[in-house]
Symmetry: C2
Amino acid sequence: MPSPSRPRTSNMPESQPHLVSASDPIGVFDSGIGGLTVVAALQEILPGETIFYIGDTARVPYGGKSRRTVERYSIEIGGLLLAERAKMIVVACNTASALAVPRMQDLFKVPVQGVVEPGARAAVAASKKRRVGVIGTRATIASGAYEHAIRSLAPDVEVFSEACPLLVPLIEEGLFDDSITDQVLARYLDPLLGRGIDTLVLGCTHYPLLRDAMARAAGPDVQLVDSAQNCALAVRDLLAERDIAAGSDHLGRLQVALTDSTEGFLRTAERALDLEIGEVELRSVQSDA
Amino acid sequence: MPSPSRPRTSNMPESQPHLVSASDPIGVFDSGIGGLTVVAALQEILPGETIFYIGDTARVPYGGKSRRTVERYSIEIGGLLLAERAKMIVVACNTASALAVPRMQDLFKVPVQGVVEPGARAAVAASKKRRVGVIGTRATIASGAYEHAIRSLAPDVEVFSEACPLLVPLIEEGLFDDSITDQVLARYLDPLLGRGIDTLVLGCTHYPLLRDAMARAAGPDVQLVDSAQNCALAVRDLLAERDIAAGSDHLGRLQVALTDSTEGFLRTAERALDLEIGEVELRSVQSDA
């Protein structure tokens, strides 16, 4: 039986000023491990920043779930990042970016940066033929978030989308360079290539791990837009604008926490992305667990 | 702020006698939709029984998660089934059966039937060469539950196991009869066939949907053991033994509830299994959602 003074069970932050310091970490989250591609891009561009990463492996994947569920999970993980003194939150998950960023921005006082808007901006800049393909999870594609973002930047650009639900499982099995992956990719990309796209947005943070296979499948005339990399550039600009970037003399660290003790393909991603991940912490997403 | 009289947030049942009536439903749960293969088997064998099915689609899949997480989720869903007056609980998920049934049996007074023990029993009865293969999710295979169950029934049987993490995504995409699925199956099954197995346990409730492709891949000399079907037989025996079977003059109904509003591959499974699923209810697995 809870006492009357027991706090609410959700992880929504209290309405109190968040004292942001430049030395505080950037909070990054993903439904699982895929968001580490964003971490790798951040570390390359912003080596002085400390990063606190949370992968919601207890509830992974988000890609087939409803908006309401993805919003709820994202807000909870956002709360965990604020508890780690995150000076900003990077939503390193396309599904959560597509479905939950507006609600998070309503709720949190720290800046919340998703991956969709930077990817859309880069695609618009890249496409000469004004025909852009977008691939992602079922939920990301169904949300129409990229299409909406691209067309509000450039109404003349035509957007063709394809949900690719088998790619994440193949990536999590480490089948980066494999005939089965090539066949699956061909099925997903052929309809887009048939529409004459010259730019392809990798609308899932897992996908940069399949960059080589995608480049083979798409051919030399299609430019790949990596939403992880473009998100990292947006974070750099945002930190500079708010004057909360860590000094470049400082050497950032990476801390990783997961919501389930199973590490999944963490070590595969660590090797593929050349990251240094030490001990992994466990964070509970259920108050009475 | 909760009032002092607010109930505990977990779904653990209160310690009160459960008044079981033969007309109460059989409660069936799975991490998602795959457990409907068990429902189809139950309906064939026990047409008089009403079935209340819950798919935990808000947290699907369980197959890559830790024992502690799978136990917690299973107990929560068990509580939801008790709230629907389930006279018994069928754990129609191999991962939850392998990891959580003992703990559920400790906690719940109604009978709890998993899929592992019936499958193991059928495999032991089927194997003439005393060499049995088991396929399942990562968590099921890592648990060693089938191996343990088979060897405690028949210590002379050799068990060879293979985790097949790509099969569930392929099934959920409806690729039942597809060259990509055939290639993936060959990779998983060839090592087992090389060990001279004559019996293969389909240790995941999704797998019966791939029965034809598996029969092709395994060849005519290997007998497939469908854990869904054998679980249904065990339920029939258990209901008879406890004298809580519904009368056969009665026509059972099927009610389906999911924990997320996204139906995933529910309609694909409904067609493939020839089930009649009407409106799908939503059940929350978070007290303050």
